[in-house]
Amino acid sequence: MLDPVEAITNAFPDAIQDVIEFRGEITLVVDSDRIVSVCRFCRDTKGLEYNFLSDVSGVDYYPQEPRFAVSYHLYSMVHNRSLRLKVYLPSDNPVVSSVTSIYPAANWSEREVYDLFGVYFTDHPDLRRLLMPEGWDGHPLRKDYPLGYETVQFSFNFDEIDRHKPYARE
């Protein structure tokens, strides 16, 4: 059983930007160009064997720069431990390589991140919108996307709201 931080930083000395330990969870901040090779290393190296990808999720750190982050939660069923890889992406060009070829489980998770954050994944087999309808404007989970609050209909504004409901009185 290898120490993941040591093994990965030794193998990729220039790709690991930062190592964070918080509440017993290890986060490796990886250079966005190298994420596929780091993932392959994590999966295939004897002693690491992170064979299971739990989750891929996006974070929007607006208005900080680099604005976007994509977190990969790896888990090793062999050694019963987990690891988080994180890549930071700039706001003007949020593009990262897809890890679908290493972990097929990432397929829909990456599509979801694309749909809700507008982060592009190159070499993804089928990068389409997943949750929102096709042709939806914008990416809802971005921080500059409004929540979309609608005024609630009460007796004092009943008629005003009712005008937005042309189908209600057929």
């Binding site: 918080f22 509440r23 969870e25 986060t27 064979n51 299971f52 990808l53 739990s54 989750d55 999720s57 996006g58 974070v59 929007d60 977190s71 939660h73 069923m77 019963n80 987990s82 988080r84 972990y103 097929p104 489980a105 397929n107 829909w108 998770s109 979801e112 809700l116 089928d126 919108r129 997943l130 949750l131 929102m132 309808p133 042709g135 809802p140 989970l141 996307y145 929540l147 979309g148 042309p166 189908y167």
Partner: protein, 413 residues
């Protein structure tokens, strides 16, 4: 609202290029739409099927018809307010969703949970598991053609819902788990009611098994269908009974025990064939094991408080408000502003009835979560559906959708 007719598809087959095979484009195979309004898709799942006769050549799921924006809404709510949203995500497993979110907050804040609360959480989470499996069994059997199982399952389910209502006041959306423990202690009638249930229920499981397990019709429709190998299951990210049906022994309750699951004795049932029938047997056995856990939790239920004493995160009890100025200040602060967890990010996983339910919580130090993401089992299992369904008859697709036990609220969030 404008553009109501927008999504009625009137295009030609060439638009589906890339999604279906070349044979479909030339008209050799048939493209069929299934859902989102279909009795056996367990909600609003839409599938685009390419059929060669009755055989499924490919299957393209389309989800999002129940995308509720829960993650975005949670970002605009305070940590405690957002618990109500988690209930409505996987609506067959509300207590489990509460649990994973509360565990994430507790990990972020290093909040302690009293042992009594942990045991009650385990107890209620296991009752929720039985509850969820009952709905699964009823609807799954109904899809395949066994109507009476549905009626029996829902009869027993009402008893569990009565227990939930007793502790929380709500049948389904209980919001009973809070950061640092539980909303309040269980009432006196709780213990006899649960004891009644655990005495009554084992014979009912035998009843279901008598109806299905050796039923030749059931065997014909389930054995050897929906096969998934162990390697593929891990590769595709399957968890829970789907993974264990393929023979991989991985249960988060055993592997990474949370909420004192390590205090309880239970077995993890495993399958050998990886087909619908094995997963059926596993879920039936899981109900028995859950009963075992419930019994142990009830027998060894410690006395004591059910909520942490950390006044930075947990509001003081009502009795203190009349006597202590400090309690009033804490109360006021917590209900007007909310608590401020430290900056950081955590990922917590629990075993939901469907598989690994993960919560990824990013805090920026403000009273509202910066980002909450749920890794939901139905979502990942649905992405594996094309792989499982390929090559089967269209009639078996109904059984395959049932066996991966999807909840669309869980998949779409």
């Amino acid at each position: 609202m404008t553009g109501l007719q927008d999504s009625v598809w009137e295009g030609d087959i060439q638009q589906l290029k890339g999604l279906v095979s070349e044979r479909a484009l030339s008209g050799e195979t048939m493209v069929l739409n299934m859902g989102p309004q279909h009795p056996s898709t367990h909600g609003v799942l839409r599938l685009m099927l390419e059929l060669d006769g009755e055989e499924i050549v490919s299957c393209v799921p389309d989800i999002g018809y129940l995308h509720t924006g829960i993650e975005k809404s949670m970002e605009s709510k305070r940590y405690e307010q957002a618990i109500t949203m988690t209930d409505r995500m996987d609506y067959l497993n509300p207590m489990g969703n509460n649990l994973v979110y509360c565990l994430a907050i507790e990990k972020l804040c290093e909040l302690d949970v009293p042992l009594r609360a942990q045991y009650l959480r385990v107890l209620l989470a296991e009752l929720t598991r039985i509850n969820s499996h009952l709905v699964w069994l009823g609807t799954h059997a109904l899809d395949i053609g066994a109507m009476s199982v549905f009626l029996y399952c829902f009869r027993e389910r009402e008893k569990i819902l009565d227990i939930f209502e007793m502790v929380s006041g709500q049948r389904m959306m209980s919001t009973y788990f809070r950061p640092g423990g539980l909303w309040r202690d269980v009432p006196e009638e709780f213990e006899p009611a649960v004891r009644d249930f655990i005495d009554y229920f084992p014979a009912r499981i035998d009843d279901y098994e008598r109806l299905l397990t050796n039923n030749p019709l059931w065997l014909d429709r389930t054995q050897g269908i929906g096969f998934l190998s162990a390697e593929d299951a891990i590769r595709l990210g399957c968890t829970g009974p789907v993974l264990r049906g393929s023979g991989v022994n991985w249960d988060i309750r055993k592997a990474i025990p949370y909420s004192s699951y390590d205090h309880f004795e239970f077995d993890v049932p495993l399958g050998t064939h990886g087909d619908i029938y094995d997963r059926y047997l596993i879920r039936i056995e899981e109900m028995r094991q859950s009963l075992r856990i419930v019994r142990q939790a009830l027998d060894n239920l410690p006395k004591g408080p059910v909520r942490s004493n950390n006044r930075k995160y947990v509001p003081p009890p009502r009795s203190e408000l009349g006597t202590s100025m400090e309690a009033v200040i804490h109360h006021f602060k917590l209900w007007t502003e909310g608590f401020r967890p430290p900056k950081g990010e955590v990922y917590v996983r629990v075993e939901s009835p469907r598989g690994e339910l993960g919560c990824y919580l990013v805090s920026d130090g403000s009273p509202r979560p910066w980002r909450v993401h749920f890794r939901t089992p139905s979502f990942i299992h649905l992405s594996a559906l094309p792989h499982i369904a390929k090559g089967h008859l269209i009639a078996d697709l109904v059984g395959i959708i049932g066996t991966i036990d999807i909840v669309l609220g869980d998949a779409d969030r």
